[in-house]
């Protein structure tokens, strides 16, 4: 069945190429609308795909050309469209489009305008390729392209040394993930002789369930997922990635990159179902990361960093969900998260612009008056992420917590972790809200802040709408053909658990209100009282420093050792030693040439004696017998 899937891809690719090649020649308005429009067109094509799927097709798989063919190693370039990928591309292109539109306003004064849009389109294209790819190789290609795009965008302001470093860090971390993915592909191919998804899914049951191979495959895939989704322990790039322009953060965090890991696990759910240990690992990583990132989020003062840790935390939820098999819940949360996180970032972008690129929340305030639209939409986003009832985040998060708590065994504890995290989420989000947007929002402030342009606010408003009503989209049932039916929970339990999570969120909210709005002095007291713990959390558990000591510095030291000692002294030293040996010998032998006739004759006579000796040896007159 013919699909329009390639056009979903080609549209942003065309945008990328046009802006990359001719962007500097085009007027800014044109550049911006090409950038945004290409993604928008991609969204329209995605809608077409959605329509096709809703009208009966189960999945669409079309091969366009052969990438490599030798022996039984055959890799096509095929696009695989099912409801999972359709959901993904809808969010990517939809939310992506809004972010692009927002960027038209946000980046309007930046000299690298066309470059920015080219990168953004490349980003969207890469993500779409990742999602639509029907085989592992092209998924990896898209996967790496996403990493590249993020590298480009994080290092967009390449004059800043911090941005350059952050970009490199992101890339190297992602490369670690890529290598994991590649190794997973090796194991899959060598055991199942197949790399395209349909073949893979049909053959995966040839492997013993829970066996070493399938577990190794899933764990290696997980390495990729963890790196891309900034989960523990490969998460350190994500906060640094805030060096990029804010729309980039929105794109990375909301619609594209970091959710790729979730998508990967969901896409490979047949494998993870077949490898329970690996799936459990996914869940544990997700749960731990969720809590871990949330705790860090409570102590940061950079607005974008707080949002970054919140993303880590929310992705942790999604990992938790897909890890325990609640794939639909994970994807549901992915969607709602896309709405409110994009919203939060873009609103934060407006705030940062308003404060002339100051990102410290302690310097902010008086935003309701200055930036009313931003203020209200940000509040909606905060409520949604904190899981307040009837907002989108409430439904999706609740489904995850419910799935975890209702599962047997250790997963129950993961549910508890998720619950605690929900409370923390409410706490740090409202802490941010109270400090940055100002509890004193009722009072007036001398600062004259300006609301952003409509081109920036309109997308935020649209997303705010999504953040409110997104929870009513029946994602779970939409995805049923992919994942099968979700675990059914009784109404009573549903209400009970919902009440519980609301309660937890409320506690978080109240704590934030108490410490950062009502009694800021208490916050100070508690901070000193919790001194070491606070320092630990504020320094992100010193993991960056740990990695620096464990990997970076030893690596560089090793390199220097090789360069300064091993290469010149040992390896080249051996080579030169041999050469010097010959030279030395030569000088020794040279000395026999004395210039004196008698010594020359002595050599001749010596040679003659040698001849006689050899003759004697041949004839057996010497102990050493030569010849026959």
């Amino acid at each position: 069945m013919e699909t329009l899937a390639p056009f979903v891809l080609l549209s942003p690719l065309a945008g990328f190429l046009v802006n990359a090649l001719f962007g500097r020649l085009l007027p800014r308005r044109v550049v911006g609308w090409i950038g945004a429009g290409s993604v928008g067109i991609g969204f329209i094509f995605s809608l077409n795909l959605l329509l096709q799927l809703l009208t009966g097709a189960h999945s669409l798989d079309q091969t366009y050309f052969t990438w490599w063919q030798s022996g039984d190693f055959s890799v096509p370039f095929n696009l695989y469209v099912d409801r999972l990928s359709t959901l993904m591309i809808l969010v990517i292109t939809g939310v992506g489009f809004l972010i692009h539109v927002y960027s038209i306003g946000y980046m309007r004064e930046d000299p690298g305008y066309s470059r920015f849009f080219a990168y953004m389109n490349l980003f969207v294209f890469s993500m779409l390729l990742l999602v639509l790819s029907g085989n592992l190789i092209w998924l990896i290609i898209g996967w790496a392209a996403v990493g590249l795009s993020s590298y480009l965008l994080i290092g967009f302001w390449f004059e800043r040394p911090t941005a350059v470093l952050a970009a490199r860090k992101a890339f190297v971390m992602n490369t670690i993930g890529d290598v994991g993915m590649v190794f997973a592909a090796f194991l899959i191919f060598l055991n199942l002789r197949v790399l395209d998804f349909q073949g893979l899914f049909s053959r995966v049951h040839q492997l013993p369930k829970g066996g070493g191979v399938i577990t190794a495959i899933c764990l290696l895939l997980l390495v990729g997922a963890v790196a891309k989704s900034a989960q523990l322990p490969l998460h350190t790039w994500l906060p640094d990635a805030m060096e990029g322009p804010t729309p980039v953060s929105a794109l990375i965090h909301a619609a594209t990159m970091v959710t790729a890991g979730v998508y990967l696990v969901a896409r490979m759910h047949m494998l993870y179902d077949w490898a329970p240990a690996a799936a459990a690992t996914v869940a544990v990583i997700g749960g731990v990361t969720a809590l871990f990132a949330a705790t860090i989020g409570t102590s940061q003062v950079d607005i974008k960093r707080i949002l970054a840790y919140s993303t880590m935390s929310q992705i942790g939820y999604m990992f938790l969900a897909v890890g325990i098999g609640a794939y639909a819940a994970g994807m549901f949360h992915f969607m709602t998260h896309a709405f409110f996180k994009a919203l939060l970032f873009m609103a934060a972008g407006n705030v940062i612009h308003a404060f002339h690129d100051d990102q410290d929340i302690r310097n902010m305030g008086n935003l309701r008056a200055g930036l009313p639209i931003t203020f209200w939409t940000f509040l909606i986003g905060t409520l949604s992420i904190s899981g307040f009832p009837l907002f989108a985040g409430f439904f999706s998060k609740d489904e995850i917590i419910r799935a975890a708590l209702s599962a047997p065994g250790t997963e129950f504890w993961l549910g508890v972790v998720a619950l605690v995290t929900a409370g923390l989420t409410a706490y740090y989000m409202f802490r941010l809200f109270f400090i940055a947007f100002g509890w004193e929002w009722l009072s007036h402030d001398e600062r004259h802040l300006h609301e952003a342009l409509p081109v920036q606010t309109v997308p935020i408003v649209i997303l705010a709408a999504g953040a409110v009503v997104g929870g009513y989209i029946p994602v779970a049932s939409f995805l049923t053909p992919v994942f099968g039916h979700a675990v059914d929970v009784g109404t009573g339990a549903f209400i009970g658990l919902a009440a519980l999570s609301v309660l937890v969120a409320l506690i978080g909210f109240l704590a934030a209100y108490l410490l950062h709005a009502r009694r800021p002095d208490l916050a100070v007291v508690w901070r000193t009282r919790l001194g070491p713990i606070h320092a630990l959390v504020e320094h992100k558990y010193y993991i960056d420093e740990l990695y620096d000591r464990l990997f970076v510095r030893p690596g560089v030291a090793l390199a220097r050792f090789l360069n300064d000692i091993v290469e010149p002294r040992v390896i080249d030293g051996a080579v030169n030693g041999v050469a010097n040996f010959f030279l030395l010998e030569a000088r020794e032998f040279r000395l026999i040439q004395t210039g004196r006739v008698s010594s020359y004759a002595l050599w001749t006579l010596g040679g003659a004696i040698g001849v006689v000796v050899v003759v004697a040896a041949f004839l057996g007159y010497l102990p050493v017998r030569l010849g026959g």
């Binding site: 040439q593 006739v597 020359y600 001749t604 040679g607 003759v615 004839l619």
Partner: protein, 488 residues
């Protein structure tokens, strides 16, 4: 008893080339009386004409097998091969001589007579099939070369070189003769045919014959001395350095070629049945030559000395081809001798040409930046150096290839490995010359000195031949194979 000449094979046709060369010497001797001193180039011309005549005479001998004068001399393909080689070397030498001699004020007619005498001796050596003629050939060439080494009569170095060569040559001749006497005593014959008949006879137990083995040993001392193979090589660097460059050019290639002709006839044709006896000492001599020659050459700062050591090393390679005692090996030897003659002659001729250009020293430091001053000389020198090192596409490569092939076929490994390692060492000093010629000159002088047509022709032809034979070696290899195959 009446004198009966019928049974001994008086055949002047068989020694025609030698006769022509000797005759030319006598003609030059007389002409010298009449040629005015400033026209001595005529003597060179006459010499070349005579040599060309000898070349023609030689060609008629190709493919024959004419033993003459009571088995003391033979006209066969091997002799013809060496005759051609030696005559070409001599022609080339004579062609580049006048300019050099005039530059050194040495242009006397005796030079050509002595060169012709030496050539006759070498040709005789190549054709000799009796111990007597071998001895006489060696002495003829030696006495000529003693005088030629001292040809620059007033130059201390030249005198010294002549005296050293004379004394050490006499010393080695003693061993040679003593060996011959013992062989004679062991076999009762002085002709190689008679000796071979004795050694190959089943009853003789030649492998256990003390006299014979000692004789062969001393004979090889004498021959190795002439071939400047270690440890009988000691005279080589000093004599080469002290002798006038043109003489060094001539003797470095011609003497060695002739000596290897004799070595081939003695070891391969006469004593094949006891090859297990002479293999070991000969292998030792080859290894020692390779070792000393290549190793000491890397420390040399004087080009003539360096080339002398290189010649010692090359003697080792050539000797390697003799070791298997096979037709393949001997044809490789012959090919190597031809290749060596070509490239070493070229190298020394460049030294001579540079010397004739006013630089009377062969110190390497004087060669700095030769590429920029005299690009033609530097280019041909580079070709010769590459060839001596054995880099394709030069004839030197195939020379080594064929010798190594023969060794591998005969499964002779130890000498081969030494040869390979030493070849690598040799790259160091051969290329050092190139490096120095490439180095930026101290002062940017561009001298445009004319080489003269004969010199540039000879050098160009030698360089071209080095390359052409490096691409199409088959012709020479076929000749060498046919020349070598007569004995088997």
């Amino acid at each position: 008893m009446t004198i009966n000449l019928s049974g001994i094979g008086i055949d002047y046709g068989a020694i025609l080339p030698e006769l022509v060369v000797a005759g030319t010497a006598i003609v030059v001797l007389f002409l010298e009386l009449f040629v005015p001193p400033d026209r001595r180039r005529w003597l060179a011309a006459v010499t070349v004409v005579g040599l060309l005549g000898a070349l023609v005479a030689t060609i008629s001998l190709w493919g024959q097998n004419r033993s003459a004068f009571g088995d003391t001399v033979i006209a066969d393909s091997l002799a013809a091969f060496f005759n051609v080689l030696l005559i070409l070397i001599t022609i080339a030498t004579v062609a580049i001589s006048p300019r050099y001699l005039e530059a050194l004020d040495l242009d006397y007619g005796e030079y050509y007579i002595l060169i012709l005498g030496a050539t006759a001796g070498m040709m005789l050596l190549a054709a000799a099939t009796s111990l007597m003629t071998i001895f006489l050939g060696i002495e003829l060439l030696s006495i000529s070369l003693y005088v030629l080494s001292g040809f620059a009569r007033t130059a201390l170095r030249s005198q010294e070189s002549a005296l050293k060569y004379l004394l050490l040559g006499g010393f080695a001749t003693g061993f040679l003769l003593y060996g011959m006497a013992l062989i004679y005593g062991a076999t009762g014959s002085t002709t190689l045919r008679g000796i071979a008949a004795f050694t190959t006879a089943a009853s003789s137990n030649a492998g256990g014959n003390v006299l014979l083995l000692l004789g062969i040993g001393f004979l090889s001392v004498g021959l190795a001395f002439k071939a400047s193979a270690a440890p009988f090589h000691m005279w080589t660097p000093d004599v080469y350095e002290g002798a006038p460059s043109i003489v060094t050019t001539f003797m470095s290639v011609a003497t060695k070629s002739a000596a290897f002709a004799a070595i081939g006839r003695v070891f391969i044709a006469t004593f094949p049945s006891i090859s297990s006896r002479w293999y070991f000492p000969l292998a030792l001599i080859a290894i020692f030559s390779l070792f000393i020659g290549n190793l000491v050459a890397i420390t040399q700062d004087n080009l003539k000395r360096m080339l002398a050591y290189s010649g010692i090393a090359q003697a080792g390679y050539i000797l390697l081809g003799v070791l298997p005692g096979t037709a393949q090996g001997f044809s490789a030897t012959l090919f190597y001798v031809a290749a060596y003659s070509l490239m070493n002659f070229g190298a020394f001729a460049v030294v001579t040409a540079v010397a004739a250009g006013g630089e009377q020293t062969a110190e390497l430091s004087h060669w700095r930046g030769l590429f920029y001053r005299r690009p033609f000389l530097a280019t041909v020198m580079t070709i010769f150096m590459l060839s001596l090192a054995g880099i394709p596409p030069t004839v030197g490569f195939f020379a080594k290839l064929f010798v190594f092939q023969a060794l591998v076929s005969a499964q002779i490994w130890a000498p081969l490995i030494v040869a390979v390692i030493m070849t690598i060492v040799s790259f160091y000093y051969y290329l050092r010359v190139v490096v120095i010629m490439l180095a930026a000159p101290d002062e940017a002088v561009v001298e445009k000195r004319r080489l003269g047509i004969p010199t540039s022709t000879v050098l160009g032809a030698a360089a071209l031949a080095t390359l052409v034979l490096g691409i199409f070696p088959a012709v020479v290899l076929d000749w060498a194979t046919r020349a070598a195959s007569l004995h088997f």
